[in-house]
Symmetry: C2
DNA sequence: AGCGTTGGCAAACAGACGTTTGCCATGGGC
DNA sequence: GCCCATGGCAAACGTCTGTTTGCCAACGCT
């Protein structure tokens, strides 16, 4: 039996510390103490503190993009259905990679980071474009009837979902999906959604349910 | 003629540096250089770096709360109208206190800050409660027909608006109001808002327009 | 004119923290 | 049983940066 590596613990501890204190305030000593080792020992696994952030952020980022691709490939379903899947997907990743996914969100915006994070910023840009395209497609097909330009709408939707970093904690798969659907219903129908809107929401098919 | 104080310049420079680099990465030297003095000289105006953050954040925070009070006092208009005013108000403050208001948003969430920031966290909590109460009132009065619990709806709305820190830049009073109204229209009518919804939006009165 | 306050400069200080180094215990493979 | 890679420990290093201190020029006031 090989001596168990403590890399997973370190990764998890780093994620939690980054989440609680922010990258700049988090200390290597805090992370190491959480695992039960000294801060110097962390350098047996990484070359720098930034490497830790990179490692924490990489998993949720890749998962998000992979699912986005899967989702965009499914051009058969209506736009509303794809958008609902998008929201569900994102909530699922928030939950599955908690709190790493929130570390990702929080630190993407920060400049200052080395060029090694450029890839993630590109990924984020691609994500925004995808949402905007989805919204625009819905408007073009008549499925949506927008009260604002697609870009504004896309930003508002993303904000609604990404803002969850300030209040969301996982509550199990079922509850998470319910939450995602509530958010999506609000996005689709708005505050004033009457009975007809809710009927329409209830009638949406479930073609993309992920087997887990 | 008294020797002109450089406090306003320092405050503005601090706001910009905090906005661009984040509080922790911003350096006193960067702020001082922006004004054209040395970092030590800043201590003629402040006792600590934290004081600077406090000063930057205080103005937009107080303005926001003051306007919120004014807005909540107006119980005569319908809930939708008050909610639209809320969005307009917030965009206006983002614009008027740019970028200080975004520094406020960005750093409220961070823990680590001294107890002196507790007041702002209370203010934020009060703000959230107000939005939630507004939403609930709309649901109770029949003006809204919610697809989710008021608390979720309130969080989504706040997220939509507060996320603007990642893409908004002021474009003049008129354009800002137009933008606010687009966001509000999306919140009220959703993606699928049909022609009837837009007609209803257009028919909303303007009882709270602020004289500027 | 003389005096006190304001505020900038230059330099040094101090603490925090990321990183490096040398050492040693462990445990699997030949 | 020997060897070596792994990984932890302890301590030191170096830098960055917030903060302090002493000095002095500029200016307003009496």
């Amino acid at each position: 039996m090989p001596r168990p590596s403590r890399w997973p613990e370190i990764l998890q501890a780093a994620g939690q510390e980054f989440r609680e204190h922010g990258y700049e305030n988090a200390t290597l000593e805090g992370i190491a103490t959480r695992v039960g080792i000294l801060k110097g020992s962390v350098y047996n696994y990484v070359d720098s503190k930034e490497d830790l952030l990179l490692a924490v952020v990489e998993q949720p980022a890749r998962a998000l993009l992979a699912e986005l691709d899967r989702l965009l490939a499914d051009a058969d379903s209506g736009v509303a259905v794809r958008l609902r899947e998008l929201v569900r997907m994102q909530v699922r990743i928030f939950s599955e990679y908690y709190p790493a996914a929130f570390v990702y969100l929080e630190h993407l915006g920060r400049l200052e980071l080395s060029p090694r994070f450029a890839e993630f910023r590109r990924m984020d840009a691609r994500y925004m474009e995808a949402v905007e395209a989805l919204v625009a497609e819905g408007a073009a097909s008549g499925e949506f009837s927008l009260a604002a330009e697609p870009r504004i709408v896309a930003r508002a939707l993303v904000g609604m979902v990404d803002w969850m970093q300030h209040w969301f904690t996982p509550h199990g798969e079922e509850a998470d999906i319910r939450l995602a659907d509530q958010l999506f219903a609000l996005a689709l129908g708005g505050l004033a959604a009457g009975g007809s809107m809710r009927a329409m929401l209830g009638a949406l098919p479930d073609p993309l349910v992920v087997e887990t």
